[in-house]
């Protein structure tokens, strides 16, 4: 695949933005400035980035409890995200949602979700709507290895396959569902093979290789756009942090320090950096500049968020029903 430099740099920038955004969030959570639950995506950035790079602005995604990466990769506004994490009035959800419910319908982000696999049927419905409206949009549906064992997985893939809907099911196999290793929750080794149960296409990719993810994404998105139905992609990857911020003392009950460190060595960002440098796409100076730009964008987002007031208590009563 021939990709132009600008595009490659954009991939890099997105991954790095996700990483830095979450490092910031981690810090804010540790200092109790973020009040709610926080599930970080650090180490898995290549999946969201590669996948969303194959999407158009008017395509849809549905996300998970670990959703910041998907949102940023689909073009989400980090100021509005940060404001939401801090529970502020101008946050994406006016402070009503927090990390697990960030959505931006104008960007096709159908929402993070606090319930595992709950986005799967919702994605299918968006795809059905596309088909009924005669559009050529597609939907990318992110879910985890753990999520693949929910009934919703089966019902959704069956219906999407039956109706040949334009959905790409993206299994982010980070090998654990909280503390349960995939081998202890999933009776099949390679989840993408479950495609055969629905007579659909699918494949497995290295989820730490953003170009591999992008390539698989591009192909399946094109197929979906051509009306050839859903796909199941499995991206093997790893989460560096605990399941949620706060798990700390339990991390080593279910995985070893060594295993974590091995995966940190396979950092998708470092790895792509090397590709960019080796191929002369960007220089070290260029990388430094990107880092600075991201830091400055983040800084602005932080300022926006922190200067933004909290909602009024009574605002809790708004936004439940739409009223003309």
């Amino acid at each position: 695949m021939q990709l132009n430099n600008e595009f490659m740099i954009q991939l890099y920038r997105t991954m790095l933005m996700i990483r830095r955004f979450e490092e910031k969030a981690l810090d804010l959570k540790a200092r109790q400035i973020i009040p709610g639950l926080l599930h970080l995506y650090i180490g898995e950035e290549a999946v969201a980035t590669g996948m969303c790079a194959a999407l158009r602005r008017d395509d849809y995604i549905s996300s998970t409890h670990r959703g910041h990466g998907h949102c940023i990769a689909k073009g989400g506004d980090i100021s509005l995200m940060m404001a939401e994490l801090l529970g502020r009035e101008k946050g994406y959800c006016r402070g009503k949602g927090g990390s697990m419910h960030i959505a931006d319908i104008d960007l096709g982000i159908l929402g993070a979700n606090g319930v595992v696999a709950a986005g799967m049927p919702i994605s299918g419905g968006a795809a059905l709507s596309i088909k009924m409206r005669g559009k050529d949009q597609v939907v990318a549906c992110f879910f985890g290895d753990g999520g693949s064992n929910q009934g919703a997985f089966h019902e959704s893939l069956n219906m999407a396959a039956l109706w040949k809907l334009p959905v790409i099911y993206v299994c982010e196999n980070n090998q654990y569902a909280i503390s349960v290793a995939q081998s202890r929750s999933c009776s099949i080794r390679d989840i993408y093979l479950r495609k055969d149960a629905y007579e659909i296409e699918g494949c497995m990719v290295d989820g730490n290789d953003v170009l591999a993810v992008y390539q698989a994404a591009k192909e399946t998105v094109d197929r979906a756009r051509r009306g050839e139905g859903p796909t199941l992609i499995e991206c093997k990857t790893y989460r560096w942090r605990g399941h949620y911020e706060g798990e700390a003392d339990r991390t080593y009950t279910y995985r070893t320090k060594q295993e974590i460190e091995e995966w940190i060595d396979r950092c998708p960002i470092k790895r792509f950096q090397k590709v960019l440098l080796d191929q002369g796409v960007v220089s070290q100076v260029g990388l430094n500049q990107i880092e600075q730009e991201i830091q400055s964008d983040l800084q602005k987002a932080m300022e926006f968020a922190q200067n933004c007031p909290f909602p009024e208590p009574q605002d809790a009563l708004k936004d439940l029903y739409y009223e003309e």
Binding site: I122, R133, E155, M159
Partner: protein, 325 residues
């Protein structure tokens, strides 16, 4: 005025709305050529075809989830769940997603989605096909709850539901399907949150909805011959709830009985009783009574079912015992 059946009225509502707005479509099990929806034969499917009267696999959670996904991306789905007993399979999507997405997203989307489901069972359908679960949904902020008792109301309320930009759950009693009543040819809508006073009276207020309204009316008519004047209120929608109508009636009669087919404990009757005990306490001259099904699963044998579910006679007895206290 012409008389049509409850199920015909519902099909008319769907037809009119589907003709009016091409974003409206129906999905569910056997809704198409079999015409399970509203026991309607293939009528709807013949006019609108597989695409807009869409048979699904037996996947209730996905039916609702797909409907939700469609609703927030430009369509106006009507999702049919064959019996309310099967809503149990879709509670995750209904309660955590459908009811909450708009709020969780800060009011930035609309969810024009109607969930239709039947309840109450044909007769002798036993424990898994006879439930009345409407009370659960009244406890879920974000859902409107509609539960009509006549063809007229069914049609007008379903049309309102389909045009609403919020999720609505619409309960149809299976035993009402063949019942008939006057329905005008002209188009009309019925607003949510307006109870219908079916019968005026000064001795006691009886509040009810769905099939039980008819049983209450029969009991009331009989008691009228003994000089007892019962005011009968059909709530029609549980959320929004017409508290004003309830309190106004209690103000007049001083006595209140609530009748529903759901089992008594934890039923919607409790909510009404609680509202009146808080806001209409001084209006009451007697204890508030509830008459629901007995607190057991609905048994199969006719002898047993008849014993468990309220009927005219039991309603009349209860009214009598209250007014003669």
């Amino acid at each position: 005025m012409r008389e049509i059946s409850f199920s015909t009225a519902l099909v008319e509502a769907l037809k009119e709305e589907m003709r009016r707005d091409e974003r409206v479509f129906v999905l569910g099990e056997d809704v198409g050529r079999f015409g399970m929806i509203y026991v309607a034969k293939p009528e709807l499917w013949k006019e609108f075809g597989d695409d807009r009267v869409r048979d699904t696999p037996i996947s209730e959670n996905a039916i609702i989830g797909f409907a939700l996904g469609a609703a927030i991306t430009g369509m106006r789905p009507v999702a049919d769940i064959m019996f309310c007993d099967l809503l149990t399979l879709a509670m995750e999507q209904i309660v955590n997603q459908v009811a909450k997405v708009r709020y969780m997203f800060g009011g930035k989307i609309k969810v024009p989605l109607v969930i239709c489901t039947s309840l109450g069972g044909l007769r002798f359908a036993a424990a898994q096909h006879s439930q009345h679960l409407e009370a659960w949904f009244s406890h879920v902020p974000g859902l409107k709850v509609v539960i009509p008792s006549t063809p007229y109301d069914a049609k007008g309320l379903l049309k309102t539901a389909i045009r609403d930009d919020n999720p609505v759950i619409f309960f149809e009693h299976q035993q009402l399907m063949p019942t008939t009543g006057p329905v005008p040819e002209e188009e009309y809508l019925i607003p949510f949150g307006k109870a219908d006073i079916k019968r005026e009276g000064k001795d006691i207020t009886v509040i009810s909805y769905s099939l039980m309204v008819h049983k209450v009316l029969k009991a009331a008519n009989e008691l009228a011959q003994q000089g007892i004047e019962t005011e009968v209120i059909d709530l029609r929608t549980l959320n929004p709830l017409d508290k004003e109508a309830i309190l106004k009636s209690v103000e007049k009669t001083g006595r209140l009985l609530i009748v529903h087919q759901a089992c008594t404990t934890g039923g919607f009757g409790a909510e009404i009783a609680a509202i009146v005990a808080e806001n209409g306490f001084d209006l009451l001259t007697a204890p508030i009574h509830r008459l629901g099904a007995l607190d057991v699963p609905v048994p199969y044998s006719p002898v047993l079912e008849n014993f468990v579910i309220p009927n005219e006679q039991k309603i009349a007895e209860r009214i009598l015992s209250i007014v003669s206290q």
